[in-house]
């Protein structure tokens, strides 16, 4: 089946088995390795992407779901102004450990920034609850996102 979508601003057309996992199509066919696979069952959020305007786990979506949609991944986000601010906050707090979960957290946190952005610990904990990190204990991740919310509020 032919599908087309826009990913990080680039239009792509592909001929794929529509039932293949979107994650595999993105990683294997388009070689977008900023999307990570960890649990493969939608639990951990390592493969989170923004599909149109929602953060979703690409390991439990079929390729056909992307047809006609807009996709944003960690790599795409890092090239935006808000993405750069968020990245700097994650970096500044030394929050990153193994980093395998981070592209996923980055995507989810970015989505929170653009849709809500209130520097509220409770809201942020909730927004990030679909992403698992085994290394950090989350504390510095929370600090980073709060810091990014504050920086954005100051800037606006």
């Amino acid at each position: 089946m032919k599908i087309s979508f826009n990913i990080n601003g680039r239009n792509v057309k592909l001929d794929v088995d529509p039932m293949r996992r979107l994650l595999d199509v993105l990683r294997d066919d388009l070689e977008l390795t900023d999307i990570k696979e960890s649990c493969g069952e939608g639990e951990c959020g390592a493969c989170t992407i923004i599909l149109d305007d929602k953060p979703v786990t690409s390991c439990i979506l079929n390729a056909v779901h992307a047809d006609g949609k807009k996709i944003l991944t960690a790599n795409g986000i890092s090239k935006t102004r808000i993405g750069e601010i968020l990245l700097d906050c994650f970096d500044q707090t030394n929050s990153v450990q193994c980093g395998f979960c981070f592209p996923g957290f980055y995507v989810t946190a970015y989505h929170y920034l653009i849709t809500d952005g209130e520097p509220s610990l409770e809201k942020i904990r909730y927004a990030l609850s679909g992403n698992i990190c085994r290394c950090t204990g989350y504390k510095k991740i929370f600090e980073s996102v709060i810091m990014a919310c504050e920086r954005l509020q100051e800037g606006s």
């Binding site: 069952e41 980093g99 395998f100 979960c101 204990g137 989350y138």
Partner: protein
């Protein structure tokens, strides 16, 4: 003390950092570890699905091994591939490879194996109760003082149990092996903690078919926590053999549902403790410990886990009359291996729970009992090692003060009288020996190397990997600070056995403590030679560069440990910690939550305080998972699936954390990675006991377990 940013953070956040599954080589094909779906038995018949053309698959079993079918490290008792008898579920039988991942998956799912089943021991408790399952190493520390218990002394005895724990590194295990026919060499790239263990494994399985093996780690290692200490040996061995047979690069990356079933876990334990306490002085006079671990199917790492477990089992107390017996027991479950703490979390769960049990028997505050018996300056551990400072006492005093423990202890008791839901507060104290146990570091003889380039760039070569603990940033920082050289011109080169010397495995909280301090010594030696600014020196003596420097670990001759009696200096330096946990228990749904944890640690001088803090935060949360939710529900855990049935802490479960480092004596960095895993679980258990008066001797404290316990008692 500065906290410069991590060298690899930006690329990890934006996803450009390369983990093993992100590498692609020309002509690369995909491999799969085909494993036993039988707990114990003989393989009678293997049937491959007919609808596939077998010619398109590369299939290897033990008969294809040109070298020896034995994994050399750590204890050489486990075959790479099953020969006839399957000893545990998940044991690897074959390696299979194909150019197309999807076809490979369909093929392996349709393979059928007929087994002649034998009796299998898969029930952990059954294994741990029966002493006749003992095998491998047995350790006795006998420091009995022929002290007859007096009739007024209070005898307290109990048995404590801990369950399996899964490392749950977010990146599953993975390797790529490439065979070069002309050079008869094998190159393996992968996610691992111990490149030189992997090298030995590949040499062993390949035998004289190859003349050179080079192991390199991927740019990123997505977490390990001990889980990538020994399993990578098997994985790399099988991948190498497949690559040799296919004459193509072979990539094997495990799916989570396979990884959780076949790789190593934390050892389940059964620890029986008997004490006699003098009710007048509240001094513990006699201590007897029977420490047992379920090793799983093969010994592998278990003997050394047992050593560390036994050497931490007596806790941070000054007790003179001690007898400890440590054993390994064999079951038909996957071999258990390394996991942050390495036998110590099991030990501290038992002893720290037991201290609360004694306090209950004496009807005193558990804090008071700890204060009466805590190891102080000039006290002796049961191993005869003398403690030079009030490390653990200082940690405890500080954490009690910060957490307002004394007030809360009374306040919560009053609160609980009038409320259905309960509040509780609990303590634990602990230590962790840095580096290999006993004479281990002497035997390892770690080497490090540095090169200074023509542009004064400093390259550090160590075999220790950065699996997220920030080691490569911290090591570079140590060298840069000692040399007075900019951090951006100082870096650790990704470990590659063709150019990196063997500085030992990345385990035992030894990377900063042993290797970092060794690098500092080497840096001082260089500094002496250059007498001043490195940049200037290199400019004025440019013909001397690039230049290589190296250094080997020299053991302290005063450190003596007797491997037979287990007496002497178990570890040259210890890190120390104490914590207070506050819990909330919802009575109607049997649910226990950790609200806040305060912890004070003595790890010497942390090099990069933010990285150090991050290590503690992550360790505390893993320990909370160990205490509350992480559990293989199905006794036959070969059927576990992944993160849907193994419950990891999420952002919503994260308690408040208050972390402080104090330092009592050492002016250098000591071990840090493991200690935060050692002690929160018993403090949470103790807090639950304080909240409800219910004494549970087992973790995790899932609602099911709490319910069973209450039901059993009523």
């Amino acid at each position: 003390m500065r906290s410069p940013r991590k060298v690899d953070a930006r690329s990890k956040i934006n996803g450009s950092h390369k983990f093993i599954d992100d590498y692609i080589f020309p002509d690369m094909i995909y491999g799969y570890l085909y494993y036993a779906r039988c707990h114990h038995g003989y393989i009678r018949k293997i049937t491959f699905p007919e609808e596939f053309d077998l010619k398109n698959f590369i299939i290897i079993d033990y008969k294809d091994i040109p070298g020896r079918n034995i994994v050399p490290e750590p204890e050489p008792d486990q075959p790479f591939l099953v020969e006839n008898e399957v000893y545990h579920y998940g044991q690897i039988i074959m390696g299979i490879a194909h150019p197309n991942k999807a076809i490979l998956k369909q093929f392996v799912e349709k393979i059928e194996i007929e087994y002649e089943e034998l009796t299998a021991l898969t029930d952990i408790k059954e294994c741990l109760e029966d002493e006749s399952n003992a095998f491998g190493r047995e350790i006795i520390i006998d420091q009995r003082q022929s002290l007859e218990p007096r009739s007024e002394w209070i005898k307290t005895s109990a048995v404590y149990y801990t369950a399996h724990q899964e490392q749950a590194y977010l990146e599953t295990q993975g390797m790529i092996a490439i065979y070069n026919q002309d050079q008869r060499s094998i190159y393996v790239l992968g996610t691992m903690q111990c490149p030189y263990f992997v090298k030995e494994a590949v040499e062993m399985i390949m035998g004289d078919k190859i003349t050179e093996v080079v192991i390199e780690t991927a740019e990123g290692i997505g977490g390990a926590f001990g889980g990538k200490e020994d399993f990578p040996n098997i994985l790399a061995g099988v991948a190498s053999l497949l690559a040799y047979k296919a004459e193509k690069p072979v990539k094997i990356v495990l799916e989570r549902s396979d990884d959780i079933v076949i790789t190593t876990k934390r050892h389940p334990s059964r620890v029986e403790i008997e004490t006699y306490t003098d009710p007048v002085t509240n001094k513990i006079r006699k201590l007897k410990i029977d420490y047992r671990l379920d090793a799983g199917g093969y010994l592998t790492l278990s003997p050394v886990v047992l050593s560390r477990g036994v050497l931490h089992s007596f806790g941070g107390y000054n007790i003179r009359d001690v007898f400890i017996h440590g054993r390994l027991l064999r079951s038909n479950t996957p071999s258990n291996g390394a996991f942050r703490g390495f036998g110590a979390p099991q030990a501290f769960f038992a002893i720290e729970s037991h201290i609360d049990k004694i306090a209950g028997d004496l009807k005193i505050d558990p804090l008071e009992l700890r204060m009466k018996n805590i190891l102080q300056k000039d006290d002796r551990m049961p191993t005869t090692q003398i403690i030079r400072e009030d490390h653990i006492l200082d940690c405890l005093n500080r954490v009690i003060e910060k957490s307002d423990y004394k007030q809360k202890y009374i306040e919560f008791q009053e609160y609980n009288q009038h409320h259905d839901n309960k509040k509780g507060i609990g303590i634990s104290i602990c230590f962790h020996g840095g580096g290999y146990t006993g004479n281990g570091e002497k035997v390892l003889q770690s080497k490090v190397k540095m090169t200074i380039e023509k542009d004064a760039a400093v390259n550090i070569y160590v075999a220790n990997t950065d699996m997220g603990q920030g080691a490569h940033t911290t090591l570079a920082q140590m060298v840069s600070e000692t040399l007075d050289h900019p951090l951006n011109k100082t870096r650790v080169v990704i470990p590659n056995t063709s150019k990196t010397p063997n500085s030992g495995p990345t385990v035992a909280s030894r990377t900063i403590y042993i290797i970092g301090n060794l690098l500092c010594d080497l840096s001082l030696q260089i500094k002496k030679e250059i007498q001043g600014n490195l940049d200037e020196y290199v400019r004025s003596h440019n013909t001397l560069f690039p230049k290589e420097y190296s250094r080997c670990f020299t053991p302290d001759p005063t450190v003596v440990f007797d491997d037979k009696t287990y007496l002497g200096t178990g570890y040259k330096d210890y890190s120390w910690a104490a914590c207070v946990c506050e819990v909330f228990y919802q009575t109607s749904i049997f649910k226990l939550d950790l609200k806040k944890i305060w912890t004070v640690l003595d790890i010497g001088i942390p090099v990069n305080p933010k990285i150090a803090e991050g290590q503690v935060e992550g360790g505390l949360l893993q320990a909370m998972g160990y205490a509350l939710t992480e559990y293989f529900y199905k006794p036959d855990f070969g059927r576990m699936h992944g993160f849907t049935d193994y419950i990891l802490p999420t952002t919503l479960d994260t308690p408040e954390m208050d972390i402080e480092f104090i330092h009592t004596d050492s002016d250098f960095a000591k071990g840090l990675g493991e200690i935060p895993m050692n002690y929160p679980a018993p403090a949470i258990r103790n807090a639950f006991h304080h909240a409800t008066g219910i004494f549970i001797d087992e973790i995790p404290l899932t609602p099911e377990r709490i319910y069973e316990n209450i039901k059993g008692k009523s």
